[in-house]
């Protein structure tokens, strides 16, 4: 008699916990042959609002963590992902990837985390400045995190697109709420489990699954979100996101048609996209 395998319940990730969507709704994820792989949470606007509260509460602490610590935690995420490599390859295959493509995607995602782990304590030095003002002041500009960032992850990749957008945001001290790929949501939830095991404080990354068309307005308009990073979507989405973002002068970062597998899809400017420049004036005198 063969053993019955235990199937996983895919839930969402808010404030370091794995609740089901408060709405109680689901959507079935099917493989190419129409078999149901999983019942995914169809996240609601209320889920999003809860996630914003968690992200806001976590933000000051995460921003205050030393750059060294943030780098180590990002590195730890990579370690945890490496350990679960096979699980992610399996999930990617379930969602239609070839073995080779799945391996490549997981490996790139791990390496991307290492890449941004290394930047955590370096981008500040690259982008900061001491400014030679004419008066007797010591004047310098540094980067600070924008705050709470909402991220609409790309749809065409389950893991790599998500990682490529989350890593630069949190490396820079932001907290975020991510909407996973709608068509390939499995890896996002498993990635939340990786985060959970990696000393990432609860609330730093919050991950929802669900329908983009249902949630995009909330992601763009919420008054306690400081920036929105949106990947892909047509002109209609772009227009709507930017219009709604104006409500509280959100920073809008558009990343469309990026091939996340490319080497040049990673650079410190992705961190800078969700940073503010703060300039401090300090008198020089006795």
């Amino acid at each position: 008699m063969t053993r019955i395998p235990v199937a996983k319940t895919y839930k969402i990730y808010i404030g370091g916990k794995f609740p089901r969507t408060e709405s109680g709704r689901y959507f079935p994820l099917e493989d190419g042959k129409g078999n149901v792989i999983a019942n995914m949470c169809r996240g609601s606007r209320k889920d999003f609002r809860n996630a914003v509260v968690a992200a806001r509460n976590a933000q000051p602490g995460w921003a205050k963590a030393s750059a060294y610590l943030r780098g180590q935690i990002l590195y730890r995420i990579a370690e945890m992902l490496e350990g679960r490599r096979d699980q992610f390859i399996g999930e990617l295959r379930l969602q239609g990837a070839t073995q080779r493509a799945a391996e490549k995607e997981v490996d790139l995602a791990i390496d991307r985390l290492i890449y941004f782990a290394g930047w955590a304590d370096k981008y500040q030095q690259v982008f900061s400045a001491v400014n030679p003002v004419s008066s007797a002041h010591f004047n310098f500009s540094v980067l600070e995190p924008t705050g709470v960032v909402s991220i609409l992850a790309p749809d065409d990749t389950s893991l790599l697109g998500l990682v490529s957008n989350v890593a630069p945001a949190i490396a820079g001290g932001n907290t975020c709420i991510v909407l996973a790929s709608e068509s390939k949501p499995l890896c996002a939830v498993s990635f939340a489990e990786v985060l959970h095991a990696s000393d990432v404080p609860g609330g730093v990354v919050n991950i929802l699954t669900g329908f983009r068309s249902e949630l995009v307005e909330q992601f763009a308009s919420h008054m306690d979100v400081n920036a929105i990073v949106y990947c892909d979507g047509g002109k209609k989405v772009a227009t709507s996101v930017q219009q709604l973002a104006a409500e509280n002068v959100k920073r809008v970062v558009k990343r469309t048609r990026v091939d996340w597998t490319r080497d040049d899809a990673q650079d410190p400017y992705l961190i800078r996209d969700t940073q503010e420049v703060k300039t401090t004036w300090h008198p020089i005198g006795t």
Partner: protein, 492 residues
């Protein structure tokens, strides 16, 4: 602490004799056209509007009102100049043109200062010592960047955006024109600039400078007019970038209007800066800083220190000294070199400020104004402060853009931070304390783009300026100000 015994008698018999800046060297034409493609041209619809001296309410000149057709002409001129001349020029040569502008402004500085004060109402001391020298310095600073841009952005090959549409406010007319033009030109863009309708004259004089500097026609175009002219510029499909300085409300309208287009934008919007005084601060210096923070330029400053937070143990002393200092401020003729506070920029702005004075009192705040005399003619507001206000009061939350200070107290460090950050704005802030570690904890905790420690309202071309949250997007000034006018070719 000031007591009746040692209090100085500022209301004594001594008065300053008038010390007016001479204006015989100043030429203002009776009428100005639009500066398009290197020459002054009449507006298509033939409409002109008056620009007034807010201190006398007398007409200074008539200025063309640009319609959508004029804006279109200006954008086309800018596009041609971009395509055929400016983008093909060697960057070092571009830089030399900008250096020329800086030099001519320096040569004609006093004339510019006088016109700035006549047209905008700001004290000649400020236009002479702050606005105009900083404007020249800004051109000088950015001129040198023109051939060094690749060093500013490691790993990138920066390219110009094309035609920049720029809309500037009335509080620092010439300085804002410099803030906008200098980096745009240095980065290789051409420009259509719209000055504010109440203060167009120095921008039009700047057009003369640009012509005299020999800039190729169409590289800089200046179109005057009000809201509709600005809207035509924002909506023009031939513009690649919008840079706007003004109110948060208009900034949001612009951000919405640009949705779905590929235009880049930077917004420098409103503020409600917290100026925080700790008990261990040098109190007399702090009082000077408070005065400079809120009464500089009649409080028409987006980064004005309009919310004062004083640690409770020194609140009485600070407020008492502040009131004494307010009594010494001279409100009056902007052209008088002794004047501290000039005229409110326009009748509309004066009405707005006065409405807030009423609101503040209706909300239960206690209003104090200095006892100074103000001229009969013109638009004036005495330096004003409110005590007994709370976080939810409108005079605490909303940008008044006038010489009106709202004072609150605090006990603990965290309380000061919480109150200071409790605003949709995040442009600037100030902190006064003698303790270095406290300064840096404070400057790190304030959610604002510019923080002054034991000083306030300092500006420099090398120093990036711009806001967090609803105070805007992007930076102006310094290396970081280049980003607004370049395509870095990254993931967009």
């Amino acid at each position: 602490m000031a007591t009746p015994d040692n209090k100085l008698a500022f209301d004594g018999g001594w008065e300053y004799a008038p010390a007016p800046e001479s204006t015989d060297h100043v030429t203002i034409r009776k009428r100005y056209g639009l500066f398009i493609n290197g020459e002054f041209v009449a507006p298509e619809k033939g409409r002109y509007f008056d620009t007034l001296n807010p201190a006398t309410e007398e007409k200074l000149s008539r200025v063309a009102e640009a319609s959508a057709a004029d804006v279109d002409k200006a954008v086309k001129a800018a596009r041609d100049a971009y395509r055929n001349v400016w983008s093909r020029m060697k960057p070092a040569e571009r830089g030399k043109y900008i250096y020329r502008i800086a030099r001519i402004i320096q040569e004609r500085a006093r004339e510019f200062a006088a016109i700035e004060s006549l047209d905008g109402g700001k004290p000649i001391r400020e236009s002479r010592d702050v606005d105009i020298p900083l404007a020249a310095a800004h051109f000088f600073y950015y001129a040198g960047w023109a051939d060094k841009l690749e060093y500013a952005f490691p790993g990138r090959k920066p390219r110009p955006l094309g035609v920049a549409g720029q809309i500037i406010p009335w509080n620092f007319p010439m300085l804002m024109a410099a803030w906008k033009l200098a980096p745009a030109l240095a980065c290789g863009n051409t420009v259509v600039l719209k000055p504010a309708e109440t203060t167009p004259l120095t921008a039009l004089k700047l057009a003369e400078v640009i012509r005299d500097a020999g800039l190729p026609p169409g590289v800089v175009n200046i179109v005057t007019g009000a809201g509709p002219t600005g809207a035509a510029l924002v909506e023009h499909p031939g513009v690649d970038k919008i840079a706007f300085t003004g109110s948060t409300n208009v900034g949001k309208i612009i951000q919405r209007a640009l949705a779905g287009t590929s235009k880049k934008y930077t917004l420098e919007l409103g503020g409600k800066a917290a100026n925080i005084v700790f008990a261990d601060a040098a109190i007399d210096q702090a009082v000077e800083g408070i005065v400079n923070g809120i009464f500089f330029n009649q409080g028409h400053v987006c980064c004005a220190g309009s919310r004062l937070f004083v640690q409770e143990s020194v609140a009485d002393e600070v407020i008492s000294k502040l009131k004494d200092r307010m009594e010494t401020l001279i409100v009056g003729d902007p052209m008088d070199k002794n004047t501290d506070i000039g005229a409110i920029n326009s009748k509309m702005q004066l009405e707005k400020i006065e409405s807030y004075l009423k609101i503040g009192q209706q909300e239960g705040g206690e209003m104090y104004q200095s006892a100074c005399r103000v001229p009969k003619q013109g638009y004036w507001c005495r330096p004003t402060l409110f005590t007994g206000v709370s976080q939810s009061n409108r005079v605490v939350q909303e940008e008044i853009f006038g010489p009106v200070l709202a004072i609150q107290t605090f006990r603990r460090f965290d309380e000061a931070i919480t109150k200071a950050n409790n605003t949709p704005y995040g442009l600037s802030g100030g902190v006064w304390t003698d303790k270095g570690s406290k300064i840096f904890k404070m400057t790190q905790s304030l959610r604002a783009g510019v923080v002054w420690a034991n000083t306030f309202n300092k500006f420099d071309p090398a120093s990036p300026f711009g806001g967090y949250k609803e105070s805007g997007v992007g930076r102006e000034g310094g290396l970081h100000g280049l980003d607004a006018y370049l395509d870095l070719g990254a993931h967009r």
